[in-house]
Symmetry: C2
Subunit: 135 residues, 2 copies
DNA sequence: CTGTATCCTCTCTGATACTG
DNA sequence: CAGTATCAGAGAGGATACAG
């Protein structure tokens, strides 16, 4: 997406989002889902082994981390390198595509992080207005 | 969180994501959730009334659209303008903050949309490798 | 160590019906 | 038109146990 197609791209995006949503929606949900976001953010720092990643993404269960990583690997965002030793040693890292996505994701996260106070203020205002009506 | 924080922001981001995740995670999930994404994308085109929005975001139920819009309004991403007429007329639009977020979101969506083919290829490769192992 | 399998809970979601 | 209320099903998510 670039240059003079800016306008066209925007309109087509909208069409795409709602017409071909089927294709991208699923992918997007892997990326933006609760654990997908955190896994990609963690891997943006560098490669990690399964349990290291699990400690990094605090609160994730074994099951969900495995599930998330499989989805991301299948989508081509994450590379899985397994050494067939005993005990097994598996390292996860971002692919080129995964790094791009993680970058965009990071921009979005940074924006939201930077505005959390605004959001919290908005929430307080909203809740106050609500309870005022209730009275 | 302000001023010249480019470098610091990245390192702190990582800390934030995992330490204060509580604060931003919830917000991020409203934004990136199934309907939040689509609602913001739709409103990026301009203001819409409830049912117009509902037709635009194809597949959303009354309930989920109302729920999504309330969450986004409470977070300060969406502005709700209600005329107290009969029948009621309510218009939804993006706030300045909402527009910023929608922009970042659009970048992410565009990236994913543009790479859907790569993802689908990765999926085919992954599934093939899987079934090969099964044999 | 790196997962898979199972069971169980709890939230999200959608269909339906109803209110202002 | 713009929602709210309620209910039931589907799926996400977590705890535990076990396999390679």
């Amino acid at each position: 997406m670039n240059g003079s197609r800016a306008e066209a791209a925007h309109h087509q995006l909208v069409a795409d989002v709602f017409a071909r949503a089927c294709a991208s929606r699923g992918v997007l949900e892997h990326v933006t889902g609760r654990w997908g976001t955190l896994a990609l953010a963690a891997l943006a720092e560098g490669p990690f082994r399964f349990n290291a990643l699990r400690r990094k993404v605090d609160g994730v269960s074994e099951k969900m981390l495995a599930q998330t990583l499989q989805a991301l690997e299948r989508d081509g965002f994450v590379h899985r390198e397994a050494e067939p030793t005993i005990p097994p040693r598996v390292e996860y890292s971002l692919t080129a595509l995964g790094a791009e996505v993680a970058g965009r994701l990071r921009e979005l996260i940074e924006l939201v992080e930077g505005r959390v106070q605004e959001v919290e203020a908005a929430r307080r205002a909203y809740d106050e207005a609500k309870s005022a009506v209730a009275r």
